[in-house]
Protein backbone atom coordinates (compact mmCIF):
# COMPACT_ATOMS: atom_id res chain seq x y z
CA UNK A 1 0.00 0.00 0.00
CA UNK A 2 1.18 3.51 -0.85
CA UNK A 3 1.22 6.39 1.57
CA UNK A 4 1.57 9.90 0.27
CA UNK A 5 2.42 13.09 2.10
CA UNK A 6 2.50 16.68 0.99
CA UNK A 7 5.33 18.55 2.74
CA UNK A 8 4.00 21.97 1.71
CA UNK A 9 0.45 21.37 2.92
CA UNK A 10 -1.08 23.19 5.90
CA UNK A 11 -2.09 19.86 7.36
CA UNK A 12 0.64 18.65 9.73
CA UNK A 13 2.63 15.69 8.40
CA UNK A 14 1.79 13.44 11.35
CA UNK A 15 -1.90 13.95 10.55
CA UNK A 16 -1.26 13.12 6.90
CA UNK A 17 0.54 9.91 7.84
CA UNK A 18 -2.23 8.99 10.28
CA UNK A 19 -4.95 9.62 7.68
CA UNK A 20 -2.98 7.77 5.02
CA UNK A 21 -2.85 4.65 7.16
CA UNK A 22 -6.54 4.89 8.08
CA UNK A 23 -7.50 5.31 4.42
CA UNK A 24 -5.49 2.17 3.65
CA UNK A 25 -7.55 0.30 6.22
CA UNK A 26 -10.80 1.61 4.73
CA UNK A 27 -9.72 0.46 1.28
CA UNK A 28 -8.84 -2.97 2.63
CA UNK A 29 -5.18 -2.60 1.69
CA UNK A 30 -4.30 -2.95 5.33
CA UNK A 31 -6.14 -5.60 7.30
CA UNK A 32 -6.19 -6.63 10.93
CA UNK A 33 -2.93 -8.29 11.89
CA UNK A 34 -0.84 -6.43 9.29
CA UNK A 35 2.33 -4.94 10.69
CA UNK A 36 3.25 -1.34 9.90
CA UNK A 37 6.88 -0.51 9.09
CA UNK A 38 9.04 0.56 12.01
CA UNK A 39 9.01 4.25 12.92
CA UNK A 40 12.61 4.59 11.76
CA UNK A 41 12.12 3.02 8.36
CA UNK A 42 8.88 4.84 7.52
CA UNK A 43 10.46 8.13 8.59
CA UNK A 44 13.48 7.32 6.42
CA UNK A 45 11.36 6.37 3.41
CA UNK A 46 9.40 9.61 3.64
CA UNK A 47 12.42 11.68 4.70
CA UNK A 48 10.63 13.08 7.73
CA UNK A 49 11.48 13.29 11.40
CA UNK A 50 11.10 10.11 13.45
CA UNK A 51 9.04 11.98 16.06
CA UNK A 52 6.52 12.80 13.35
CA UNK A 53 5.88 9.16 12.51
CA UNK A 54 6.01 8.26 16.17
CA UNK A 55 3.28 10.79 16.88
CA UNK A 56 1.08 9.35 14.11
CA UNK A 57 1.50 5.85 15.50
CA UNK A 58 0.69 6.96 19.02
CA UNK A 59 -2.43 8.79 17.89
CA UNK A 60 -3.54 5.74 15.96
CA UNK A 61 -2.93 3.65 19.06
CA UNK A 62 -4.98 5.96 21.24
CA UNK A 63 -7.81 5.71 18.73
CA UNK A 64 -7.61 1.92 18.93
CA UNK A 65 -6.69 1.56 15.26
CA UNK A 66 -3.34 -0.06 15.91
CA UNK A 67 -1.68 -1.82 18.81
CA UNK A 68 1.98 -1.20 19.56
CA UNK A 69 3.43 -4.56 20.54
CA UNK A 70 6.97 -4.55 21.91
CA UNK A 71 9.38 -6.22 19.47
CA UNK A 72 6.88 -6.94 16.67
CA UNK A 73 5.91 -3.29 16.14
CA UNK A 74 2.66 -1.58 15.23
CA UNK A 75 -0.10 -4.06 14.40
CA UNK A 76 -3.46 -3.18 12.85
CA UNK A 77 -6.29 -4.03 15.25
CA UNK A 78 -9.45 -5.94 14.50
CA UNK A 79 -12.37 -3.51 14.45
CA UNK A 80 -14.35 -4.11 17.63
CA UNK A 81 -17.43 -6.21 16.90
CA UNK A 82 -20.87 -5.01 17.85
CA UNK A 83 -21.87 -1.49 18.62
CA UNK A 84 -19.49 1.42 18.63
CA UNK A 85 -19.08 2.65 22.20
CA UNK A 86 -21.10 5.84 22.84
CA UNK A 87 -17.99 7.72 23.95
CA UNK A 88 -16.35 7.18 20.53
CA UNK A 89 -19.55 8.23 18.78
CA UNK A 90 -19.64 11.35 20.90
CA UNK A 91 -16.05 12.21 20.05
CA UNK A 92 -16.57 11.72 16.31
CA UNK A 93 -19.70 13.84 16.34
CA UNK A 94 -17.92 16.60 18.19
CA UNK A 95 -15.10 16.63 15.66
CA UNK A 96 -17.51 16.56 12.75
CA UNK A 97 -19.74 19.31 14.12
CA UNK A 98 -17.72 22.41 13.19
CA UNK A 99 -17.33 21.17 9.59
CA UNK A 100 -21.08 20.53 9.30
CA UNK A 101 -21.78 23.94 10.79
CA UNK A 102 -19.38 25.60 8.37
CA UNK A 103 -21.06 23.84 5.43
CA UNK A 104 -24.45 25.11 6.60
CA UNK A 105 -23.15 28.61 7.08
CA UNK A 106 -21.80 28.83 3.54
CA UNK A 107 -25.26 27.81 2.37
CA UNK A 108 -25.09 24.11 1.65
CA UNK A 109 -28.33 22.23 2.02
CA UNK A 110 -28.68 19.08 4.08
CA UNK A 111 -28.89 17.03 0.92
CA UNK A 112 -25.75 18.59 -0.54
CA UNK A 113 -23.81 17.81 2.62
CA UNK A 114 -24.96 14.20 2.52
CA UNK A 115 -23.99 13.93 -1.12
CA UNK A 116 -20.58 15.40 -0.35
CA UNK A 117 -20.00 12.91 2.44
CA UNK A 118 -21.08 10.05 0.18
CA UNK A 119 -18.69 11.19 -2.55
CA UNK A 120 -15.82 11.44 -0.09
CA UNK A 121 -16.51 7.90 1.12
CA UNK A 122 -16.49 6.68 -2.48
CA UNK A 123 -13.23 8.49 -3.18
CA UNK A 124 -11.49 7.09 -0.10
CA UNK A 125 -12.59 3.58 -1.01
CA UNK A 126 -11.24 4.21 -4.49
CA UNK A 127 -14.36 3.07 -6.33
Amino acid sequence: MFIQIEPQSDIPIYTQVKNGIMEGIVRGELVAGDILPSVRSLAGDLGVNMHTVNKSYHELESKGVIRIVPKSGAVICTPSAGEIPPSRLEQISEELRPIVVESLVIGMSEKEIQELVASIILKVKGE
Binding site: F2, P37, D45, G47
Partner: protein
Protein backbone atom coordinates in the same frame (compact mmCIF):
# COMPACT_ATOMS: atom_id res chain seq x y z
CA UNK B 1 53.80 -0.26 -18.76
CA UNK B 2 53.33 2.96 -16.76
CA UNK B 3 51.95 4.73 -19.83
CA UNK B 4 49.37 1.98 -20.47
CA UNK B 5 48.33 2.12 -16.84
CA UNK B 6 47.98 5.88 -17.06
CA UNK B 7 45.95 5.56 -20.26
CA UNK B 8 43.59 3.02 -18.72
CA UNK B 9 43.06 5.06 -15.55
CA UNK B 10 42.57 8.39 -17.28
CA UNK B 11 40.46 6.87 -20.05
CA UNK B 12 38.27 5.11 -17.54
CA UNK B 13 37.87 8.25 -15.47
CA UNK B 14 36.97 10.33 -18.53
CA UNK B 15 34.39 7.78 -19.62
CA UNK B 16 32.89 7.77 -16.13
CA UNK B 17 32.71 11.57 -15.85
CA UNK B 18 31.15 11.87 -19.30
CA UNK B 19 28.46 9.25 -18.70
CA UNK B 20 27.39 10.42 -15.24
CA UNK B 21 24.60 12.85 -16.31
CA UNK B 22 23.00 10.03 -18.29
CA UNK B 23 23.12 7.38 -15.56
CA UNK B 24 21.94 9.45 -12.60
CA UNK B 25 18.25 9.34 -11.81
CA UNK B 26 16.06 11.14 -14.31
CA UNK B 27 14.48 13.62 -11.93
CA UNK B 28 17.82 15.15 -10.96
CA UNK B 29 19.74 17.12 -13.57
CA UNK B 30 23.16 18.44 -12.51
CA UNK B 31 22.07 18.21 -8.90
CA UNK B 32 18.80 20.06 -9.43
CA UNK B 33 15.43 18.41 -8.81
CA UNK B 34 13.07 18.69 -11.76
CA UNK B 35 9.44 17.54 -12.05
CA UNK B 36 8.91 14.15 -13.71
CA UNK B 37 7.20 15.72 -16.72
CA UNK B 38 10.26 17.82 -17.58
CA UNK B 39 12.70 14.92 -17.97
CA UNK B 40 12.47 15.14 -21.77
CA UNK B 41 13.01 18.91 -21.70
CA UNK B 42 15.05 19.92 -24.76
CA UNK B 43 17.13 22.51 -22.94
CA UNK B 44 18.13 20.08 -20.19
CA UNK B 45 19.08 17.42 -22.72
CA UNK B 46 21.17 20.01 -24.54
CA UNK B 47 23.01 20.87 -21.31
CA UNK B 48 23.82 17.21 -20.74
CA UNK B 49 25.17 16.81 -24.26
CA UNK B 50 27.17 20.00 -23.96
CA UNK B 51 28.65 18.84 -20.65
CA UNK B 52 29.67 15.50 -22.20
CA UNK B 53 31.25 17.12 -25.26
CA UNK B 54 33.11 19.76 -23.24
CA UNK B 55 34.38 17.26 -20.68
CA UNK B 56 35.60 15.04 -23.49
CA UNK B 57 37.46 17.71 -25.45
CA UNK B 58 38.98 19.59 -22.52
CA UNK B 59 40.18 16.32 -20.98
CA UNK B 60 41.65 15.22 -24.31
CA UNK B 61 43.41 18.58 -24.52
CA UNK B 62 44.87 18.10 -21.01
CA UNK B 63 46.02 14.62 -21.96
CA UNK B 64 47.60 15.91 -25.19
CA UNK B 65 49.41 18.66 -23.29
CA UNK B 66 50.83 16.07 -20.93
CA UNK B 67 52.20 13.99 -23.81
CA UNK B 68 53.66 16.96 -25.67
CA UNK B 69 55.31 18.10 -22.46
CA UNK B 70 56.72 14.63 -21.68
CA UNK B 71 58.08 14.21 -25.24
CA UNK B 72 59.50 17.69 -25.92
CA UNK B 73 60.96 18.88 -22.68
CA UNK B 74 61.97 15.38 -21.56
CA UNK B 75 61.42 16.16 -17.89
CA UNK B 76 63.01 14.10 -15.14
CA UNK B 77 61.46 10.75 -14.25
CA UNK B 78 60.11 12.15 -10.97
CA UNK B 79 58.37 15.08 -12.60
CA UNK B 80 56.84 12.76 -15.16
CA UNK B 81 55.42 10.45 -12.51
CA UNK B 82 54.14 13.37 -10.44
CA UNK B 83 52.37 14.87 -13.44
CA UNK B 84 50.97 11.45 -14.30
CA UNK B 85 49.54 11.15 -10.81
CA UNK B 86 48.06 14.63 -11.08
CA UNK B 87 46.38 13.96 -14.42
CA UNK B 88 43.35 12.07 -13.03
CA UNK B 89 42.75 14.97 -10.62
CA UNK B 90 42.94 17.44 -13.48
CA UNK B 91 40.25 15.44 -15.31
CA UNK B 92 38.15 15.39 -12.15
CA UNK B 93 38.62 19.11 -11.67
CA UNK B 94 37.57 19.82 -15.26
CA UNK B 95 34.41 17.73 -15.02
CA UNK B 96 33.50 19.10 -11.60
CA UNK B 97 33.91 22.70 -12.81
CA UNK B 98 31.64 21.92 -15.74
CA UNK B 99 29.23 20.23 -13.36
CA UNK B 100 28.98 23.42 -11.26
CA UNK B 101 28.62 25.57 -14.34
CA UNK B 102 25.66 23.51 -15.56
CA UNK B 103 24.31 23.25 -12.02
CA UNK B 104 23.99 27.05 -12.04
CA UNK B 105 22.46 27.01 -15.53
CA UNK B 106 19.80 24.47 -14.56
CA UNK B 107 19.10 26.28 -11.29
CA UNK B 108 18.40 29.54 -13.09
CA UNK B 109 16.33 27.76 -15.75
CA UNK B 110 14.29 26.15 -13.01
CA UNK B 111 13.75 29.49 -11.28
CA UNK B 112 12.80 31.16 -14.54
CA UNK B 113 10.30 28.47 -15.61
CA UNK B 114 8.91 27.96 -12.06
CA UNK B 115 8.37 24.28 -12.66
CA UNK B 116 7.29 23.56 -9.11
CA UNK B 117 5.10 26.60 -8.55
CA UNK B 118 1.49 25.93 -7.54
CA UNK B 119 1.82 22.22 -8.05
CA UNK B 120 1.02 19.55 -5.55
CA UNK B 121 4.37 18.10 -4.51
CA UNK B 122 4.23 14.81 -2.72
CA UNK B 123 6.51 12.24 -1.16
CA UNK B 124 5.47 8.63 -1.50
CA UNK B 125 6.29 5.49 0.40
CA UNK B 126 5.14 1.93 0.02
CA UNK B 127 4.39 0.35 3.36
CA UNK B 128 5.40 -3.24 2.59
CA UNK B 129 8.32 -2.38 0.30
CA UNK B 130 10.90 -3.61 2.77
CA UNK B 131 9.80 -7.20 2.24
CA UNK B 132 11.18 -6.85 -1.32
CA UNK B 133 14.52 -5.48 -0.13
CA UNK B 134 17.25 -7.91 -1.19
CA UNK B 135 20.23 -6.56 0.72
CA UNK B 136 22.54 -9.22 2.12
CA UNK B 137 21.93 -10.10 5.76
CA UNK B 138 24.62 -8.99 8.22
CA UNK B 139 25.64 -12.56 8.91
CA UNK B 140 27.34 -13.02 5.52
CA UNK B 141 29.73 -10.19 6.46
CA UNK B 142 30.98 -12.44 9.23
CA UNK B 143 32.53 -14.76 6.59
CA UNK B 144 35.45 -12.38 5.82
CA UNK B 145 35.85 -11.87 9.57
CA UNK B 146 36.28 -15.63 9.97
CA UNK B 147 39.03 -15.48 7.32
CA UNK B 148 40.65 -12.67 9.33
CA UNK B 149 40.41 -14.64 12.55
CA UNK B 150 42.01 -17.58 10.77
CA UNK B 151 44.80 -15.30 9.62
CA UNK B 152 45.42 -14.19 13.21
CA UNK B 153 45.60 -17.76 14.43
CA UNK B 154 47.92 -18.63 11.54
CA UNK B 155 50.19 -15.66 12.32
CA UNK B 156 50.44 -16.56 15.99
CA UNK B 157 51.06 -20.23 15.21
CA UNK B 158 53.90 -19.28 12.85
CA UNK B 159 55.22 -16.43 14.95
CA UNK B 160 58.65 -17.97 15.33
CA UNK B 161 59.10 -18.46 11.59
CA UNK B 162 58.29 -14.80 10.81
CA UNK B 163 61.27 -12.64 9.80
CA UNK B 164 62.70 -10.13 12.27
CA UNK B 165 61.53 -7.24 10.14
CA UNK B 166 57.77 -7.03 9.54
CA UNK B 167 56.74 -5.02 6.48
CA UNK B 168 54.29 -2.20 7.17
CA UNK B 169 53.98 -0.69 3.73
CA UNK B 170 54.02 -2.01 0.19
CA UNK B 171 55.20 -0.13 -2.90
CA UNK B 172 53.50 -0.02 -6.28
CA UNK B 173 55.52 -3.09 -7.35
CA UNK B 174 53.86 -5.06 -4.55
CA UNK B 175 57.13 -5.30 -2.61
CA UNK B 176 57.41 -4.08 0.97
CA UNK B 177 59.28 -0.78 1.31
CA UNK B 178 58.88 -0.02 5.03
CA UNK B 179 59.54 -2.29 7.98
CA UNK B 180 59.25 -2.48 11.73
CA UNK B 181 60.83 -4.76 14.29
CA UNK B 182 59.00 -8.00 15.02
CA UNK B 183 56.69 -8.10 18.01
CA UNK B 184 53.32 -9.74 18.57
CA UNK B 185 51.66 -6.41 17.91
CA UNK B 186 53.53 -5.62 14.70
CA UNK B 187 52.97 -9.15 13.40
CA UNK B 188 49.23 -8.77 14.02
CA UNK B 189 48.85 -5.23 12.62
CA UNK B 190 47.76 -6.44 9.21
CA UNK B 191 45.01 -8.77 10.48
CA UNK B 192 43.89 -6.05 12.92
CA UNK B 193 43.55 -3.44 10.20
CA UNK B 194 41.71 -6.05 8.17
CA UNK B 195 39.28 -6.69 11.00
CA UNK B 196 38.57 -2.97 11.27
CA UNK B 197 37.85 -2.85 7.53
CA UNK B 198 35.57 -5.91 7.73
CA UNK B 199 33.67 -4.26 10.57
CA UNK B 200 33.38 -1.05 8.59
CA UNK B 201 31.83 -2.90 5.65
CA UNK B 202 29.38 -4.60 7.98
CA UNK B 203 28.50 -1.25 9.56
CA UNK B 204 27.95 0.44 6.21
CA UNK B 205 25.68 -2.40 5.10
CA UNK B 206 23.55 -2.16 8.22
CA UNK B 207 23.30 1.64 8.15
CA UNK B 208 22.32 1.47 4.48
CA UNK B 209 19.60 -1.02 5.35
CA UNK B 210 18.15 1.43 7.90
CA UNK B 211 18.19 4.23 5.35
CA UNK B 212 14.96 5.17 3.66
CA UNK B 213 13.83 3.68 0.35
CA UNK B 214 13.05 6.92 -1.47
CA UNK B 215 10.36 6.68 -4.13
CA UNK B 216 9.59 9.45 -6.55
CA UNK B 217 5.94 10.40 -7.12
CA UNK B 218 5.12 10.32 -10.81
CA UNK B 219 7.59 7.53 -11.56
CA UNK B 220 7.06 5.19 -8.67
CA UNK B 221 7.74 1.98 -10.58
CA UNK B 222 11.05 2.99 -12.11
CA UNK B 223 12.32 4.69 -8.96
CA UNK B 224 11.34 1.66 -6.90
CA UNK B 225 13.33 -0.69 -9.15
CA UNK B 226 16.30 1.69 -9.04
CA UNK B 227 16.32 2.02 -5.26
CA UNK B 228 16.01 -1.73 -4.73
CA UNK B 229 18.77 -2.40 -7.24
CA UNK B 230 21.04 0.19 -5.66
CA UNK B 231 20.56 -1.42 -2.26
CA UNK B 232 20.99 -4.99 -3.50
CA UNK B 233 24.02 -4.43 -5.71
CA UNK B 234 25.94 -2.12 -3.37
CA UNK B 235 25.44 -4.67 -0.64
CA UNK B 236 26.82 -7.37 -2.95
CA UNK B 237 29.71 -5.15 -3.97
CA UNK B 238 30.59 -4.38 -0.35
CA UNK B 239 30.60 -8.07 0.48
CA UNK B 240 32.72 -8.85 -2.58
CA UNK B 241 35.25 -6.14 -1.65
CA UNK B 242 35.34 -7.30 1.97
CA UNK B 243 36.20 -10.84 0.82
CA UNK B 244 38.77 -9.54 -1.69
CA UNK B 245 40.51 -7.35 0.91
CA UNK B 246 40.67 -10.33 3.26
CA UNK B 247 42.25 -12.42 0.50
CA UNK B 248 44.74 -9.71 -0.44
CA UNK B 249 45.83 -9.17 3.16
CA UNK B 250 46.13 -12.90 3.72
CA UNK B 251 48.37 -13.06 0.66
CA UNK B 252 50.53 -10.18 1.95
CA UNK B 253 50.90 -11.88 5.31
CA UNK B 254 51.97 -15.08 3.53
CA UNK B 255 54.59 -13.27 1.49
CA UNK B 256 56.03 -11.93 4.75
CA UNK B 257 56.31 -15.42 6.14
CA UNK B 258 57.61 -17.11 2.99
CA UNK B 259 59.66 -14.17 1.77
CA UNK B 260 61.53 -15.85 -1.03
CA UNK B 261 59.23 -18.60 -2.16
CA UNK B 262 56.60 -16.28 -3.66
CA UNK B 263 57.43 -15.36 -7.25
CA UNK B 264 57.89 -11.70 -8.17
CA UNK B 265 55.27 -12.02 -10.87
CA UNK B 266 52.68 -13.04 -8.29
CA UNK B 267 53.67 -10.16 -6.02
CA UNK B 268 52.98 -7.69 -8.81
CA UNK B 269 49.87 -9.31 -10.26
CA UNK B 270 47.91 -10.03 -7.08
CA UNK B 271 47.48 -6.36 -5.98
CA UNK B 272 46.82 -5.39 -9.62
CA UNK B 273 44.23 -8.14 -9.97
CA UNK B 274 42.68 -6.90 -6.73
CA UNK B 275 42.34 -3.33 -8.08
CA UNK B 276 41.03 -4.63 -11.39
CA UNK B 277 38.39 -6.79 -9.72
CA UNK B 278 37.21 -3.92 -7.50
CA UNK B 279 37.02 -1.68 -10.57
CA UNK B 280 35.06 -4.27 -12.57
CA UNK B 281 32.68 -4.82 -9.64
CA UNK B 282 32.07 -1.09 -9.34
CA UNK B 283 31.44 -0.73 -13.07
CA UNK B 284 29.01 -3.65 -13.07
CA UNK B 285 27.15 -2.10 -10.14
CA UNK B 286 27.02 1.29 -11.88
CA UNK B 287 25.67 -0.32 -15.07
CA UNK B 288 23.07 -2.39 -13.22
CA UNK B 289 21.78 0.59 -11.24
CA UNK B 290 22.42 3.30 -13.83
CA UNK B 291 20.34 1.54 -16.46
CA UNK B 292 17.17 2.07 -14.48
CA UNK B 293 15.29 5.36 -14.09
CA UNK B 294 17.99 7.27 -15.98
CA UNK B 295 18.32 8.52 -19.56
CA UNK B 296 19.35 5.01 -20.53
CA UNK B 297 15.99 3.68 -19.39
CA UNK B 298 13.77 3.39 -22.45
CA UNK B 299 10.61 2.80 -20.47
CA UNK B 300 8.33 5.79 -20.88
CA UNK B 301 6.83 7.13 -17.71
CA UNK B 302 3.06 7.28 -17.91
CA UNK B 303 1.93 7.19 -14.35
CA UNK B 304 -0.75 9.10 -12.56
CA UNK B 305 -2.69 12.08 -13.77
CA UNK B 306 0.11 14.61 -13.63
CA UNK B 307 -1.69 16.39 -10.79
CA UNK B 308 0.94 15.39 -8.26
CA UNK B 309 4.69 15.56 -8.78
CA UNK B 310 7.78 14.49 -6.89
CA UNK B 311 8.65 16.87 -4.07
CA UNK B 312 11.38 19.43 -4.68
CA UNK B 313 14.11 18.60 -2.15
CA UNK B 314 16.79 20.95 -3.41
CA UNK B 315 16.93 22.84 -0.14
CA UNK B 316 18.54 19.78 1.47
CA UNK B 317 21.28 19.51 -1.18
CA UNK B 318 24.07 22.01 -0.62
CA UNK B 319 25.71 22.83 -3.94
CA UNK B 320 23.73 19.97 -5.43
CA UNK B 321 26.24 17.54 -3.91
CA UNK B 322 25.99 17.42 -0.12
CA UNK B 323 22.85 16.19 1.59
CA UNK B 324 22.05 17.95 4.83
CA UNK B 325 18.64 17.11 6.25
CA UNK B 326 18.36 16.93 10.03
CA UNK B 327 14.77 15.67 9.71
CA UNK B 328 15.69 12.58 7.72
CA UNK B 329 16.87 9.67 9.91
CA UNK B 330 18.61 8.08 6.88
CA UNK B 331 22.39 8.08 7.15
CA UNK B 332 23.03 7.21 3.52
CA UNK B 333 21.04 8.50 0.55
CA UNK B 334 21.33 7.97 -3.19
CA UNK B 335 23.99 10.20 -4.70
CA UNK B 336 22.92 13.15 -6.79
CA UNK B 337 25.81 13.07 -9.23
CA UNK B 338 26.93 9.53 -9.86
CA UNK B 339 25.75 6.09 -8.87
CA UNK B 340 26.09 5.09 -5.26
CA UNK B 341 25.52 6.55 -1.83
CA UNK B 342 26.34 9.76 -0.07
CA UNK B 343 26.18 10.76 3.56
CA UNK B 344 23.43 12.72 5.23
CA UNK B 345 25.78 15.30 6.72
CA UNK B 346 23.25 16.21 9.36
CA UNK B 347 23.74 12.77 10.96
CA UNK B 348 26.97 12.51 12.99
CA UNK B 349 26.65 8.69 12.95
CA UNK B 350 27.73 8.74 9.31
CA UNK B 351 30.99 10.53 10.05
CA UNK B 352 31.65 7.98 12.76
CA UNK B 353 31.40 5.01 10.42
CA UNK B 354 33.68 6.64 7.84
CA UNK B 355 36.23 8.42 10.02
CA UNK B 356 36.14 6.05 13.02
CA UNK B 357 37.79 3.04 11.32
CA UNK B 358 40.46 5.29 9.78
CA UNK B 359 41.28 6.67 13.23
CA UNK B 360 41.47 3.17 14.67
CA UNK B 361 43.83 2.12 11.86
CA UNK B 362 46.04 5.17 12.41
CA UNK B 363 46.16 4.51 16.15
CA UNK B 364 47.04 0.83 15.61
CA UNK B 365 49.84 1.71 13.22
CA UNK B 366 51.23 4.40 15.52
CA UNK B 367 51.49 2.18 18.59
Amino acid sequence: MEMTLLFVTVGFLMFLQITIPFIVKRTVVFGVTIPVDEIRNEQLLRYKKLYAILTFFISIAALALYFIWSKDISPTENHLILAGLLLPFVILFISMSLYFYFHMKVTSLKREKQWFKDRKQVKVSELNLRTKDEMLPWIVYVVPMVITAGLMVFTLANYNSLPDQIPTHWGPDGKPDAFTTKSYLSALILPFVLLVLNTMFLGINELTRNSGIKLSAGNINASRVRQLRLRKYTSWLLFFISILVSMLFTFLQFTTLYENSVSDLLIITIPLAFSALVLIGTVLMAIKVGKKDSDLDLEIIDEGTGEVINADDDQYWKGGLFYFNPEDPSIFVEKRFGVGWTLNFARPMGYLILVGPLLVIIIITLI
